[in-house]
Symmetry: C5
Subunit: 355 residues, 5 copies
């Protein structure tokens, strides 16, 4: 994980006029794609729009959902923003893709920033995409950094009129979109849980020194994830408590449900953190244990043979007057000393539970 | 402990319509068993019901308790839910057995999710079963994942009219069920305390490297337990503060009592955490101490014999002109050097408190 | 310290009807002893009562204090409870001696649970005794697990009419009893502070491996103590804020004073925790330092003599053609090599600050 | 980083009368430079002022911004303070450049202290400069310790009438100045993130012992930074909640934006702290791993050759009666023993995964 | 630091009647010295009083300040207390010099306990002296444990009528006294910061094992300091919020200032804690690093010479049939083997970056 991912591109916009409609962040798609969905209980229309202005003639009795993939073309966001009367700071934040998740109630619309997470490739780390939602009277605007999202189930339900979605208002649509994003967190968490398990098994079976780097990377991923997810709680509870007339009473129960899910996500991440700290400790201890084993081996060999070598050394001396050398039982005697000493040492190590 | 236990089956329901009545979780029993209990101060009836609809003709002046073992058959839950007017999200949550403990006041009924814990087999870890309670006007519904529960003492008290249970209302029944679940936590905690003590003794007597793995597993169990139990506090205090007319005043004192118990459970788990951290430190230190002892042995042997071997090596050289070799007292002299050196070394180690 | 002490005997009462008047806990005395004290500004009466009923004829204008030593005879508690109109749950809690310290206002009386600590024998650890106080209109009931308590100074003050105690009401008596319990905590803390100092000195003078176990035990004692003392704060501040008419205004100032003391106790325990963590670190570091010293000794000896032994080994070889062996100055030359090498090594180690 | 930087120069002013207008802190510039900017929607005037009094004739319908570089000349601050009716304590705080960031509402003006950070030179550490802002009716005063600031973009926008700044009131100017300071924090954070990444790479490639010192320094920088930035949150939220009439409603939205930024800064610093702790652990583990590797090498060499040397030693003995010495296959036999032993050892180490 | 300093002398007063006017604590001066200061805008009188009663005839229109050095003579405190109508518990607390800093509003007077710190001698640790302030209508009483205080600058300002002190009321005098105490904390902190820096340098230059003890002592000092200083925040904010008529509005701004200072003190102590933890880690790592270096030296020497010694040992054997011994190039061949092996080893270590 690169450190800069944590900071985001904030430093790039230093010195700009607040409210400047300029894209800050990595460009993730080539051409922005705009989709317009319009539905009520009976009808449903969906079309890809080339020209932004085509979205603006909307049927006020239906629910309109405009989705923009790719926010790097500032003028698209600006035109839409102008039309729907968004505050310049909102437009700035939509374009500036390094926001924390947040919720701001501007009275005639609510601005919600969420992070869509993807964790397809363990090596690449968690991929974060900013999704901005604008919930207004009868419309929802959604801005994403790139194509590809978690909204397909929602689209499907709209098309097939599955569930109650077509009979409910825009706030339920906004809820559905948020729910699909939060649900996807569980997929990310599941991937991480698999990696944790892999690392844990690796550790028990064969703690190589690469394992350490993996644990460190994992830890950083979780620090990063935690940081993305924490503000989510405030977003959802902020929506619950906002008392905005834009949120239908029937939607409130669903917000409670989504709140439960975010709590669960946050909870799980905290637990992962604890588990990873435990794994780190386990790793260090197992390294320490292996060292111990190495040391024991050395010590056993050395303490057995060094004294014996000394004995051999004694009788390798060339003194003229060394009576033992001429004894008949001298040599076997040395062997007896050797065997007895070794046996004694063996008993000693046995006793100490080193063997 | 498998990592996925922490996450639960959330990822499986990604993309489903919120409020979809589909079972998510492990199926723990084959056929759902439904029991209907109905009582007032004078009468008591208990029967096993095959057909869900048989439960619905209830005497409004008596207290009705419907218990469902096994929630994987969505239609059973759905029928009951329909009859008692439960919100689709409640039905979803009953079926989705990876909820956090929570309490939701829907006005005409209160929805409570609790975790029934079992810790029969230390190797298998703590077994968690979700229990959903619905407290309504004159009735309590309870949904469990599997047969076998902690409710038997309550049933017994109902049958034998022990205590005041038969003369009190449905909220006291709900309290009794919750109390039996929380009481059972103490059994789990006692099991864990025994394991901690075992590990601790193992550690002091013979800290093998398996001990480490055991400590790690224990730590994970406690992290897991902690996570299950923490939300309980909020559930009980939520009930206390809800001011719902469904909870009789006479039940309030009992809720306070159950709250004390949950505080005690949470407290004990926190203490266990601290103790286990201490055990971990103790383990690491004792490994470090043993290493130290090993090193000392090696050092003593090596520092005594390496110089002596050098002396022997000197007089093992084959120089023509080595006057000492021809001295009469050469060989005994070497022995004197050896003995004096050894004694000096011994004093030195003694002094350093290595021996 | 046994792990179960942390949990207490909760698991034993699983399945009992809430409010069952059954003793749960260790029996600490044989026969319950009941003392009845009755006083007002002018008179003072004190007697040991054999029959519970003898306590019940009390003078409503005087302050009555009934003290029960030994709560294992449930019927004694039950009779008293019946007479004074205590809630079944209160009677249950009096008998169940593993409560957390707590305060419950039942309107006509206040129920207070405190822990009387004793730490006479460092090996046995802290001994905890549950004291239940009932403060009612004109009376105080106190229930202890065993004989022997910290109330003697209060009795003395009552007998001798020292201070204002005789001229004040029952709430002042309750305060005095609580104060005597909290004051005794300082004695326990002083004992612990002495042990900490002993361990600390032991550590600096001669860190044996037993020290580690001692530190661990000490840490557990403090975890345990902390857990007993924390809820005390809430008890006292609960009394202060209760606004109960049972607590005279003149007593409120004294409650503030006792609150200061509990804060001080909690504070001191936290500090002890920090100090012990520091001691643990110190121990580990000093072990690590000693290891370092051992290693240095080994390394110095080995690095000096191993090369020298090699030199001796060279000239111990039996090759026919080894010109050095026949040089006149060969042997002295080897000694020169040995001395020069040793001196160089000495300089090197000196330079590295190993010697 | 010097430790005293943490404390600041507080100790120097001990004993002074509170409200004494004396500069405390390092003098960072020679001569204070005063700039007067005055603007409204149509006009803009900017001049460098030599004499403080020249600033005082201001057009009340325009917004006046007086910026002072260098606060060590107390009389300049005093004169301005007198003219604008500042409290002596405010003047003292302006001169005393070791304040925490804070916000004080004095009714007719708001006093804001911020820290302008610079991190140009990694070796010198983060450079902190105190900026005091006074927001009054129609004027903003800013006091800096030295020349050179982050205000240039604001000046530029004023001069060129970019954005809405010229058409808004003094509170927007104050916001713009604060925003430029907070924006600059991201530049500092980016520099730190680069250093973290460098250290991390250094660690993985070649963990020298200097790395440790670098990590320690980095940690201290982050502790220091954290301490500067934490109070910022309270400053901004204090402004948001103050309800002061000096802050225009249109500015409130911008304060929310700046608040988001400070949260993000604080967040990032916390994440850095976690990452650095992780790096520290990684370092210690990698040192431990290297030690392990060293030990393994020693152990392998020693355990292979020590026994072999012993064998050679045996047959180097000079006993008269050593039959093996006269065997024809004695010498080859020794070689066979040597080869077999070595091979066995190799297998053993292989098996243990030491090689 | 002695452990008992943390606890204080609480255990000594166990069993005393609450409100007993008995000195508890170390006696720090021989004879209590009483000074009476009386001033208003125009006049100023200061005298040393031998007899307590001489203080009691005070001019109600002037501000009276009675300072008592040495509180061990209970009767002095009692007489003053009686005269000014202090509560017995206040008198007890004045005499009992182990209070936490606290603030109590008794309506007609405010009782403030502060800790005056001194840190003259690094070996002796921080010296704490309890100062009790009583702020009443037109008077301030101050009680110290010993002579010598931080009040001299205040006295000087009173005598010379410097600043506004003479024209303001008693609450400003109380503020001035508190301010002088808090200001002195910065002096203590500066001393500590110097010690930290010394230890840090010591660590980098030559980490001896004494360093560890020093770090431990330093840590304990900071734990102790922290504990003294934390309650200060509550004292000051308690005064700010008390709304007591005894505190003039003009004094409120100054309390805010003093509050800022206490925050800064607390903040600095927290930072010191973090820094010392960092130093501890640094120490442990540097010990570990040195160990590593020692081990490397040993390993290099041993792995080079042990195999060579083996080679020498081989040709030191006395087998009859050892053809190499008779080769002409045998001896030079051995040297070639030795040189080649050494060179190879050198390359290997080089490669491993051990050399």
């Amino acid at each position: 994980m690169e450190m800069k991912r944590i900071l985001g591109g904030y430093s790039k916009k230093v010195g700009l006029v607040p409210g400047t409609i300029v894209h800050v962040g990595e460009q993730k798609t080539e051409k922005p794609g705009i989709t317009l969905v319009s539905y009520d209980r009976k009808s449903f229309a969906e079309k890809v729009v080339d020209n932004v202005e085509d979205c603006f003639a909307r049927d006020k009795s239906a629910v309109t959902w405009i989705n923009v993939d790719g926010v790097h073309q500032a003028e698209v966001v600006e035109k839409i923003g102008m039309h729907f009367g968004l505050h310049p700071l909102v437009m700035e934040d939509i374009l500036h893709t390094d926001q924390r998740a947040k919720m701001e109630d501007y009275g005639s619309y609510i601005y919600i920033v969420l992070k869509m997470l993807r964790f397809d490739d363990p090596d690449a780390g968690i991929d974060e995409e900013q999704v901005s939602l604008i919930l207004g009277q009868g419309f929802v605007l959604s801005f994403q950094e790139a194509e590809g999202d978690t909204f397909d189930p929602v689209r499907e339900r709209l098309r097939r009129s599955k569930g109650r979605i077509r009979s409910l208002d825009a706030s339920y649509l906004a809820y559905s979109l948020m729910d699909s994003i939060v649900d996807n967190y569980f997929v990310v968490l599941e991937n991480i849980s698999e990696i944790i398990e892999t690392v844990e098994n690796e550790l028990i079976e064969n703690p190589a020194s690469e394992t350490l780097g993996n644990i460190h990377e994992l830890k950083k991923e979780i620090i990063y994830l935690r940081r993305s997810v924490w503000p989510l709680r405030d977003v959802i509870s902020g929506l619950e408590r906002s008392g905005s007339p834009l949120i239908a009473d029937s939607t409130m129960v669903y917000l409670k449900d989504i709140y439960d899910h975010t709590i669960r996500v946050v909870d799980t991440i905290e637990t992962y953190r604890d588990v990873i700290t435990g794994i780190m400790d386990l790793y260090l201890s197992s390294v320490s244990n292996k060292m111990n084993e190495v040391m024991k081996t050395l010590t056993i060999i050395a303490t057995v043979f060094i004294p014996l070598t000394f004995v051999a050394g004694i009788y390798g001396m060339n003194f003229e007057h060394m009576p033992e050398l001429h004894w008949k039982w001298g040599y076997p005697g040395v062997w007896i000393i050797i065997i007895v000493t070794s046996a004694a040492m063996y008993m000693y190590f046995r006793n100490k539970k080193w063997i």
